[in-house]
Symmetry: C2
């Protein structure tokens, strides 16, 4: 019989940490901690298989589940010597979700389950604290009502506020047992009113209601969005963990907190966390009361009061806790994120998991753990998410720049960004979609804000600590975030905030520094990132591991210099057309396009030749001995002509032709589907003089550079959009002829290669024929994706999102390669090319060259290099190393 | 050692008819005829391998060729008892080209080679006819000067005319020996003047000059054009045949002629041909003198004088000749095209080859030969070029229509067409490119006119017979042609012709009936073709042979009825969008597109539903038990909206919305590359209500048709532009849901299939995933070609021609499938689809479905059916049968 339930507690467990797939992360770690002998309240986990069963069987459970849950409950009762539903010693439980991959804040949790009008009295007697009992009961009704019975949570909040006003209480803690008893009655009335039924008194009914709500929430809109953003499959399902409650809110010898074994923001080795005396866990995470630091050191760094730290307030428990930290980090060989509760002086560990961290912290922790010999260098390389490096490679505030600080908060997630202020997730999404950089300013954030946080460049909250929702999510997303900026007075209605006497309206620009916790007015200049020692160390380890070379897509000296700084090993794609768009050049280009015959075109091209040659000399000098792949002109000619009537008249004037000539030519060149039109090598077939000019510029630049610096660069001339081998042959013949001419003229030998883009499905299929003449292939994965999927990148915007929502695309295929479609063509192209020319050089130069999943694919297919934008070079280096690690561990 | 030369003559030969690849068609048949013991003048053939060698070695010959030619010449001298260059008994030769595939009129020929100032006297003595000798010499200088020495032929013609004027002669034959001797001097002076060197006197020098000219002409612009139009590879090269001259111009017991063993225009079993007494072969083909009929019967039918027929004039030789005809037709088992010469009463056969014929003739000859048991029924099916059937399927003149005949000529190539008159090839090409139907009117045509003839719908000439250049080429191309319409007075300068008092200007419309030899003023109505008994017979034989089913692409009742008449076995593609463009419907369609929400769209779609259902009922009734594949809406929505401002205003008014709403929607829907945009199944994913309406229309039509006619049609619902299996799954789920609804509402079971187009490379690659749910695939080869080659059909026009000229495309890939690119994807799609679903139905529905080469490919890949336009259905039936024949003979 399938085992649907797995128990833990009392120093042993039926599961282990390796069973995340069935127990979820939370359940597996609770089992593991039980096995480690850590103080874990007993409980059991309903497996993810039940979730799968639930959705496959019309929201029903396996028939044998009830009995299994009963049995597990029985064990809990035995271990705690309490009874579920007992009026004397009532066992209360928490019910939590736990997916195999952590989805913080996305799933619903119910605490204090098991309380009813009878057991609350039992709890009052057992704890000797009626106030605590009724506070727990009212919290339970509120949470259960919200999560399970769909009663709007503000109904409860309003009733609480009304009562506080009536009683003259500032804080919840000032309400006494009687007042809370009254509140419970009010809450039950609210439930009856809004849910049209009574609040359930039967603890078993409560339990099954909560279990159903957890499974139900797996398909909530929030969960689906989170999974989509994070590319998590819905297949895996969630587990449900039921655990005996312990209470951090039974008095001042009680506390609750969350902690990291190292600083998740910087990676510093430092016990890091927050706690609240006399509180339940939700109070810390929800950010409603601002918690205190765990350690004195952290309090001092974070500007909170060291005297209030746990290290000072509960020194014995603190020591016990840090021992648990050390034990867990050593056991998991990884920085941990831990939840704990202290009930009447006794420590309970409620959860441990790999702690989320910023890229900088990930880097430092990985390098430190390797230095501490806890992990190997290879493991360290595998520990840093390549895409997260992006956070480290972008500018920080210029230290010399003037800045007007208007608020200070917690440095919740690093990065310096400027953007226009928005006050809700919808506006953030809308403006970001319109191409604007926005900063989302909220009192606090909730899971409902996820899509807005995703769209924003940065996040500011008025309330909440370093482990508040906003902080955790922002770090996960790599967004700059300032939390708990209490000075802010935010009006959602007016769409303004005021701080230090300055009022900022929606749409006005601010700058935030998430590494320093600063909010500044206006735009503050930034400077290039300082790539730290840890960065260099990890990159060095990665470079030792990887086989794939990493080149860059660069058209300008600036790009080329940046890329070299980031470790690029060559240029994989230099788009020559970008050079034609510059002011002086576009005139000659237009003259060429407007010319009536080949002589006219040659005349215009002769003007472009020296400029283009100059560009190449510059690039060759910067790149030194590194290979430079230069693609011949690719876009359709109409891209160089204006389309507005008055612009056409200007061009006519400048070119000295009739306006109607320009109009006629624009009309002639107009295309129904330019992507599939007269572009790429087709231009070179129809107008060979263009290819000839470009080849001459390249070869003359080689000779000139060689004369200047002593050694000759070896250019790789790349022919775009080849469909037929013959196209390539014809253009290669022209290039070779020009090379011979330049060699004859200069008296110098020129080494060079001629290769092609493989960016049409046909080229991939007939790579064998093309490879007969081509020295290298560069897979143009952007166009290959467009053609293979019949999807224009310019037009797909309208349906990419609905397509991702409908589960048709798991990823945006322009971001991460469609491995089973486009990928197969790349594989076919690589195999057939190599069959004919075993030493053919193979690379990729689309957007995908900087995407870790796509790089892993390139490693699998055995390409020689990837080429990506300069800022993605380090990401590609790390991803290439990780791909190699995965290959190794697969073998 | 390679044998570069192959001799023949005297009842034996080194080659046979099977050696066309090396000897060319002419050389192989001369060898074969020699072996058959027919009276063939001796000679030798220089093989096509020499041509290949020539172009591979910088226009030079294999070193051993000279000796081999000498040896072969020696044999000729021995057999004829004459000497090449001998002043006593001079051997004269012809030098002709002969490619493996006949290329009439495209290659150059030199006759009378070996004459010089000495041998001419020898010829005069040997023949006893100095006039004949000098006439031969002057013809030789003229031909050699033109073809080998590049002297303009009109220089010679002017000199001849001058001389005739001077001597008061009307015809060439009125010039005597002395006059011709004088002309020879003038000709030699012209050569010296224009070629800057003397006319060569050395016969060997003459010979090598002529051989070089033949090889050189293989790469002439005319030859290249002919090969391009006829899809002939340049690789095969041409052979050169050198043969002893015989003379049809040595007196009135001499003659020359060309003949067909059956009527090449109708296929009737009748000795058919033309001859001229006292003439050389060129005189017949060039159409300068109008020749006489071979037989009395033919003369009577063709309105020439029976008394002048060869049957009457040279009865003995005629009998000998018809024996040769019978022998050759029996030997080759095919209608032959024969050239012959009678020299002083002795018959010589100079050439035989398979005769070109009209489609009607091909059909009749094939069926007749099978009836005569000369060939089998299968062979008969293989004898008719499928594409040529097109000629038979198009309208002929309405017999009841009024017509104003303005000229009569020879019925050179059948077909009734109307078009605007043009007077040269360039104008024909330009106007045809602009979409106009044109009729090319010429005094006579030459190989330089080929491209214009290709562009024209029909051809009229003033001069020339049934075997003139115009007639032969027009029949080959399947163009209507009227030849030798002597009444026409044509002015190229004024671009007019006058006939029977009517003057027709360029651009005015005429109608010609090439089957009756009529030229008519204006446009004359036509009627549908009568599909003859032979047609039906051959189709029946073809249908017995073929495995591939043939369906049609039909959107309208008219299309469907035509297709059934032509033998379509179902509809392979019904494009539903064509139904949306009709007047009343486009309003509802636009209302749908302009709607703000799904409710608005549903409202508009509800208006379209009954109309669309009505269409389907009509189609189902016409198609009866035949399958009908209905494709869901495919084009992007902007195709339904107007693009001119005033049209948008009208639409706004009609739809009752603000003009700006229409403009905004038009702008929203605008796409950079509509081919790769929001179309096909993407519409159904974003607007499921469209698919639902269409599915409902289909299923309700099934129920309605079943109620009307008693049996229910089984529709095949086709989802277009699928890239991802999930897209298909989602839309299929909607279709299935609608089917269940309609079944519930009507209380009837509905049988149906849901399948998909495979028209994106990704769909072909992932056909396995798609086949899990799809009952059939239809390869959309148009879009698959566009995507695979990255080539927009709308935009490719600009470079398709240069691409074909440059040898990049052998065929237009939109006409005939790119087998090694697009074809491989079809093969992959078919294999992977079948692997998952062995009984999946596979078809093709692009333009290629009616192209014989593509159909052969579909047979090879094992598709179940092809679908093509109604008029191509018979072509597809025949092509499918021939593909099967080829498969059989390959096994």
């Amino acid at each position: 019989m399938t085992k649907w339930v797995s128990s833990f507690g009392d120093g042993k467990a039926e599961g282990t940490a390796s069973m995340k797939a069935t127990l979820g992360g939370k359940g597996a770690n609770l089992a593991e901690m039980s096995n480690l002998g850590l103080p874990v309240p007993p409980g059991f986990t309903i497996t993810t298989d039940v979730c799968t069963y639930f959705y496959a069987h019309d929201n029903s459970y396996p028939p044998e589940l009830t009995a299994m849950v009963e049995e597990a409950l029985g064990k809990m009762e035995a271990q705690t010597s309490m009874g579920f539903g007992s009026a004397e010693k009532p066992l209360l439980v928490s019910v939590r979700s736990g997916a195999p991959i952590s989805m913080p804040g996305m799933m619903d949790t119910v605490l204090n389950l098991g309380l009813n009008d009878e057991t609350v009295e039992g709890l009052a007697r057992a704890s000797g604290d009626p106030r605590f009992a009724y506070d727990s009961y009212r919290r339970f009704i509120q949470m259960y009502g919200d999560v399970v019975m769909e009663v709007k949570h503000y109904s409860f909040e309003e009733a609480l506020e009304d009562l506080k006003r009536e009683k003259g209480a500032r804080f919840d803690t000032e309400l006494d047992a009687e007042a809370l008893k009254e509140l419970v009655k009010t809450y039950k009335a609210i439930v009856r009113q809004e849910a049209s039924r009574d609040f359930p008194q039967d603890p078993k009914e409560q339990l099954w209601g909560a279990i159903g709500a957890v499974f139900g929430s797996w398909m909530s809109a929030r969960a689906i969005t989170y999974r989509r953003i994070n590319s998590i499959s819905a297949e895996m399902g969630t587990a449900v963990t039921v655990q005996a409650m312990v209470f951090g809110n039974m008095g001042d010898d009680c506390a609750t907190g969350v902690a990291f074994t190292r600083n998740p923001s910087t990676g510093e080795k430092l016990y890091y966390g927050e706690y609240l005396i006399n509180a339940q866990g939700e109070d810390v995470v929800a950010g409603i009361r601002t918690p205190q630091a765990l350690s004195k050191a952290m309090a001092e760094a974070g500007e909170s009061d060291p005297a209030e730290s746990m290290e000072v307030k509960l020194p014995g428990t603190y020591k016990e806790l840090t021992d648990v930290f050390d034990k867990l980090e050593a056991h998991y060989r990884e920085m941990q994120d831990i939840e704990f509760t202290v009930q009447q002086g006794k420590l309970y560990v409620l959860q441990t998991r790999t702690g989320k961290r910023t890229a900088a912290a990930a880097l430092k922790i990985a390098v430190d753990l390797a230095a501490e010999k806890v992990i190997t260098q290879d493991e360290a390389v595998g520990r840093v998410e390549p895409a997260s490096l992006d956070q480290l490679l972008h500018p920080t505030l210029d230290p010399k720049a003037e800045r007007k600080i208007i608020a200070k908060g917690l440095p919740a997630s690093p990065g310096a960004v400027s953007g226009k202020v928005v006050f809700n997730a919808e506006d953030a999404e809308a403006k970001a979609a319109a191409g604007e950089a926005v900063i989302l300013v909220r009192i606090e954030t909730s899971p409902d804000d996820i899509h807005g946080m995703h769209a924003a460049k940065g996040i500011v909250t008025q309330r909440g600590g370093m482990t508040s929702h906003a902080a955790v999510v922002a770090r996960g997303m790599g967004k700059a975030c300032v939390c708990g900026a209490g000075e802010l007075s935010i009006s959602y209605r007016d769409k303004t905030f005021t701080s230090q006497g300055v009022t900022v309206k929606e749409g006005e620009e601010i700058t935030i520094d998430g590494g320093a916790g600063l909010v500044m007015a206006g735009r503050v200049p930034t400077v290039d990132p300082q790539l730290s020692g840890d960065f260099a160390t990890l990159m060095e380890w990665a470079d030792k591991l990887r086989r794939l070379k990493v080149r860059t897509n660069a058209d300008t000296p600036t790009d080329a210099r940046t890329a070299i700084k980031f470790g690029a090993e060559g240029i994989g794609l230099c788009r020559t057309e970008h050079m034609f768009f510059q002011d002086e050049r576009i005139l000659a280009m237009r003259e060429m396009i407007l010319a009536q015959d080949v002589e006219g075109r040659r005349k215009a091209l002769a003007k472009i030749l020296p400029m283009q040659k100059g560009d190449f000399v510059q690039l060759f000098e910067i790149m030194g001995p590194r290979p430079v792949t230069i693609r011949l002109l690719d876009p359709p000619l109409h891209e160089f002509l204006p389309h507005e009537p008055h612009e056409m008249d200007e061009v006519a004037k400048a070119a000295g032709v009739e306006p109607k000539t320009v109009r006629r030519r624009v009309a002639e060149l107009k295309e129904a589907n330019p992507m599939l039109g007269l572009r790429g090598c087709r231009l070179g077939i129809l107008y060979p003089e263009i290819s000839e000019m470009q080849a001459r510029a390249i070869f003359e630049a080689v000779v000139e550079t060689a004369a200047k610096v002593g050694t000759a660069p070896i250019p790789e001339v790349m022919v775009p959009l080849v469909a037929m081998a013959k196209e390539f042959e014809l253009i290669k013949a022209r290039i070779d002829a020009v090379a011979r001419e330049v060699m004859a003229e200069s008296g110098k030998q020129i080494e060079y290669q001629v290769g092609t883009m493989i960016e049409l499905p046909r080229a991939a299929l007939r790579a064998d024929e093309i490879a007969l003449e081509a020295s290298f292939f560069s897979f143009g994965s952007n166009d290959l994706t467009q053609m293979t999927l019949g999807l224009s990148r310019d037009d797909a915007g309208k349906f990419l999102e609905p397509y991702q929502k409908a589960g048709i695309f798991e990823h945006d295929p322009f971001q991460s390669i469609d491995q089973s479609g486009v990928g197969e063509l790349i594989q076919i192209g690589a195999e057939r090319g190599r069959k004919v020319r075993p030493d053919i050089k193979l690379g990729i130069c689309g957007e995908h060259g900087g995407d870790p999943a796509s790089i892993a694919f390139c490693e699998k297919v055995g390409l020689d290099y990837v080429s990506c934008s300069p800022y993605r070079v380090p990401i590609a280096r790390l991803a290439a190393a990780q791909a190699m690690l995965r290959q190794k561990s697969a073998n």
